[in-house]
Amino acid sequence: MATIIETRGLSKTYGSQLALRDLDLDVEEGEILGYLGPNGAGKTTTIRLLLGLIAPTAGGATVFGLDVTRDAPEVHRRLAYVPGEASLWPGLSGAETLALLGRVHGYVDEAYRDELIERFDFDPSKKVRSYSKGNRQKLSLIAALMTRAELLMLDEPTAGLDPLMEQTFRECMRESKRARQTVFLSSHILSEVEALCDRVAILRAGELLQIGTLAELRHLSALTVHVTFGGAVPNVADVPGVSGVSVEGQRLSCELTGPIQPLLERLTRYDVRELLSAKPSLEELFLSHYGGDGGTA
């Protein structure tokens, strides 16, 4: 499997403002990488660096093994980009915009384009000026997808889409995956990332906190365990990997990291009535990284 995106020590500062620090990232062919982080974390900065729109202050990046700055046109021939808020020419119609962007890109799957227009329920005959935000977003999604590019760089691509269109977008992503396209998906919609992405990278204040499959991330994070006993409540605080023990009557709650075996061994010696354990959702994972209060949001 080939590495499509590779960054090494990729950094960007604006004056004294740090936007991205020492990013080392590998994105493999055919995978969908979810790129998460709170506002201002550096997601858009990363994408702009990878597109060669801005130059790194340190480090570098390659896409398809080509330098993103020096070989920009060659790289761009093989990728498609959807910005978070597309700024298009208000005087052109949707159809003209698609025709122009298609010609500039160099290749368009016309049948797929017409199918996308249909599926996204998009009316290309109007002027861009008159489109709603969601419709502008559809236009720039269609413009990117119709190229069938090897790599899709998507910066909050579904901002402003209604739930129906969000579904359509997910279908398109699944098709892209079947077609072995690589997708770099920055998003704030965690359910979308959870549903689509093979791996997730979490960024905070310009630094990469974690990267891995959802399962790996969950594995790294604590499992919440609730046990209700018929009789005596044991002391589990000394079991390896257990923390945050609290007891309320017959009910014990704790957090567990690492292997589950030691805790189970301790519990089987007591009268366990009910055992509940929960893997954190991506949302809880995400919130736990930003000092959120436990993940009830």
Binding site: L53, G91, L98, L100, R103, V104, K127
Partner: protein
């Protein structure tokens, strides 16, 4: 704000020409441009003639750009939506913007008045404080009138560009009418039909005609009332005029960065080129009467001698091409601001995240700007010839075409300088691009009177252009300007390729 600075600085420059008032006669040839001189042998008369129309014209341009920018541009950009979502109605937002503009005009007036009153202390000045105040009012009136006109057309236009074009068209017609009125004895009545005529008629420093203020005030009030009425009637983003529909055909002729650039500048360029054609035709058509007026003036033989000009008509036409030089430079500045706007708005991203190198995009935009300017020069020459031929003046076509082409190098320099600034300080593109012709114009007006300070005149682009057809075009000098522009553009393009994309 540039106008403000100019206006404030202008009177300060007067003392240096106090003792040179006698030189007035040599400037008679500017009559068509600036209006008929009135008692120009006195300092007061000279000052008002020399300064009024030029300042009023710059004020008018500032006024229409600001008026349409604040009232239509902000709305187009969607910034009003945020405002109007609060407890603010559109009529109120419009009203507040107008009040803000009014306040800016008052500040401008006070600064100007301080300048004109200050100038009374200079040696050889004999006008009253009242006259100085009236003079300041006259200078600011162009800005005031066209802020109001800009506000009104903003209400009926569909886009900022359309509003600015419409306002500029109105201004152009007003200025042409004034030129017509001043080009022929007996046509002075026409002055009452145009704001620039009223401005000329006031003559605040010498035999003031207060009545001429009346139509100005009436026009401003009428525009403001109509603006408020329309603002409360129409939808946000709505308009009376419709903009042209986009072509529904898939795969029209807009197929790449350069054809896109053509499409984007098309509307503005056509409006300007038609304006240039009309202006030039008209200027050509009045050659006879205008040069007859020139020939009457006492100092004229002297001017002819100095310029080495054979015919009064060619001397006159030289002045009209001076106007063309300025217009082309301002047109170039407008096109280059639009280039920067393409980047700042993020629209450029759509092209350069696809396999279009930045410099290719830039080259297309610059090439089109140069072509439009060149076309403007040729049209100016051809239309002037057509106009003058309609009156059998007999200046040959090739001479006027050459004069037209000779009028383009300053605009080319504006383009080159704008590309340079785009590379090194993108936020300053507009300021520099418009600043160059404005600065050169001011220096040209003031500098001709400041003897012994030739270096000041040397900094004006207009100074490095021969006033063809009055003088022979100096192609060598023109080539130097074009080469300077090319060098600036190459340096700017390299910097642009290397720097980060910069958003608004």
């Amino acid at each position: 704000m540039f106008v403000l600075a100019t206006v404030a600085a202008f009177p300060v420059a007067f003392p240096t020409f106090a003792e040179r008032v006698k030189a007035v006669a040599t400037l008679q040839s500017f009559a068509i441009l600036l209006g008929q001189p009135y008692h120009a042998e006195t300092l007061a008369g000279f000052t008002q003639w020399r300064v009024t129309t030029a300042i009023a014209l710059m004020g008018a341009i500032w006024g229409l750009l600001t008026g349409t920018g604040l009232l239509r541009g902000e709305e187009d950009a969607g910034r009003w939506e945020i405002l109007l979502a609060g407890p603010v109605t559109k009529a109120r937002a419009t009203g507040e913007t107008l009040v803000g503009l009014g306040a800016a005009l008052i500040v401008m007036y006070v600064a100007t008045a301080l300048g004109t009153i200050g100038s009374m202390r200079l040696p050889g000045v004999h006008y009253s404080a009242l006259a100085a105040l009236a003079f300041a009012a006259t200078l600011v009136s162009g800005a005031a009138i066209f802020v109001a006109v800009g506000a009104l057309v903003s209400q009926i236009s569909a886009t900022r560009g359309q509003a600015a074009t419409l306002a500029a068209g109105i201004m152009g017609v007003a200025f042409l009418l004034r030129m017509a009125a001043d080009s022929k004895k007996g046509w002075e009545g026409l002055l009452w039909l145009t704001p620039f005529g009223w401005i000329e008629k006031v003559r605040p420093l010498r035999d003031i005609d207060v009545l001429a203020f009346l139509p100005m005030v009436a026009l401003v009030v009428a525009c403001v009332v109509a603006t408020m009425a329309l603002a409360s009637m129409r939808d946000l983003g709505g308009s009376v005029l419709r903009e042209g529909e986009g072509s529904p055909r898939v795969g029209g002729w807009v197929i790449g960065p350069t054809t896109l650039a053509l499409r984007l500048v098309r509307g503005t360029a056509i409006a300007w080129l038609v304006g240039i054609a009309i202006f030039s035709f008209f200027s050509g058509a009045v050659t006879r009467s205008a040069s007859a007026l020139l020939a009457d003036s006492p100092g004229f033989a002297q001017v002819l001698g100095r310029l080495g000009v054979r015919a009064a008509s060619e001397a006159y036409l030289g002045i009209t091409f001076f106007m063309a030089v300025l217009v082309l430079a301002v047109l170039a500045a407008g096109m280059m601001s639009a280039v920067r706007d393409e980047e700042a708005s993020g629209r450029l991203d759509n092209l350069i995240v696809r396999p279009t190198p930045r410099v290719v995009w830039l080259f297309g935009r610059v090439a089109i700007a140069c072509l439009v300017v060149l076309l403007g020069g040729v049209i100016a020459g051809a239309a002037t010839w057509a106009g003058s031929e309609s009156q059998h003046v007999g200046v040959p076509l090739d001479k006027l075409l050459q004069a037209g082409v000779n009028a383009t190098p300053p605009a080319i320099v504006v383009i080159g300088a704008a590309v340079f600034v785009l590379g090194v300080g993108p936020r300053l593109v507009s300021a520099v691009a418009y600043g160059i012709p404005a600065y050169s114009f001011v220096v040209e007006l003031v500098g001709s009177l400041v003897k012994g300070q030739d270096w000041i005149r040397d900094t004006s682009l207009l100074h490095h252009i021969e006033l063809a057809p009055a003088a022979k075009p100096d192609w060598g000098q023109d080539l130097v300007l074009v080469l300077i522009a090319a060098a600036l553009a190459v340096a700017g393009a390299i910097a642009f390729q290397l720097r980060d994309v910069s958003y608004a």
